[in-house]
């Protein structure tokens, strides 16, 4: 599969490997971080870039053909939908009363709901 004599293949698979690494860190973050908001941080950042890099690797490997164009479109969809979904989950969690982790230092959003202005 991997043709090490072809620099394009080496770059493509290196990019995919980096993507896998970020996906792995994102999963570790889901386990290690304390509350839903921090976990979303790991979920949106590491997993978005990880998946981004894997698709970018596919684009480099296969070029602008049937496969590459699909990868490019998936890149676009992920870039637009992943942060939107994270925002929706964070907002819904906060409105449903999920507390921030006890080590959190401030919550301006709760202040707003209580009517505190500063």
């Amino acid at each position: 599969m991997i043709d090490f004599g072809n620099p394009l293949h080496v770059v493509a698979y290196a990019v995919m490997a980096a993507g896998l690494l970020f996906d792995l860190v994102g999963c570790l973050g889901l386990v290690r971080l304390p509350d839903i908001y921090n976990r979303l941080q790991a979920g949106t950042k590491c997993v978005t870039l990880g998946t981004f890099l894997i698709l970018l690797g596919v684009l480099i490997r296969f070029g602008f053909g049937a496969m590459g164009i699909k990868a490019l479109l998936c890149l676009w969809f992920i870039a637009m939908t992943s942060p939107t979904a994270a925002h929706a989950i964070a907002r819904a969690a906060h409105r449903a009363g999920f507390p921030l982790w006890k080590g959190s230092v401030m919550d301006r959003y709760a202040d707003r709901e209580k009517g505190v202005t500063s």
Partner: protein, 162 residues
Amino acid sequence: MTKALSAFVFCLLVWFAVTWSFDLAGIAVGVVLAAVIAYSLRDVELEEVPLLLMPHRLFWALAYIPVLFLYVVRANVDVAWRVLHPALPIRPGIVKARTSLKTPGARVLLANSITLTPGTLSVDVDGDMLYVHRIYVPEDDPDGATERSLERFEGFLRRIFE
């Protein structure tokens, strides 16, 4: 009518890009699907889309992509470092920041850009106030520091949308 027609053409282009099949069946299904989507979107207002096709706005939109990508990579290295660090160095909280952007499209992109970049996650937008969850809240002036870190995106988004 022009709006429905441009929606139809756009959907058809996306269809061909995704399926990459140009035989009669593929084209027929694409035309029918694009027509259905264009028809069902006839009442949706997309007043910002024609604006984006102006060349200088398009230029700034394209210039924004590598800049954003750079910040996304930096954000990832930062979050990855915090996740892998044995002591888990986080100091989370929700701050609020005022944005100077006026149009809805620009605010949506700003909120999404925030979510993708260093330790910040947009929780809600209320008028010109953004509520942002940060994985590491700075010691002094957390709201102001967040506002200053928004400025690097606002410059681009203002040129694209306003």
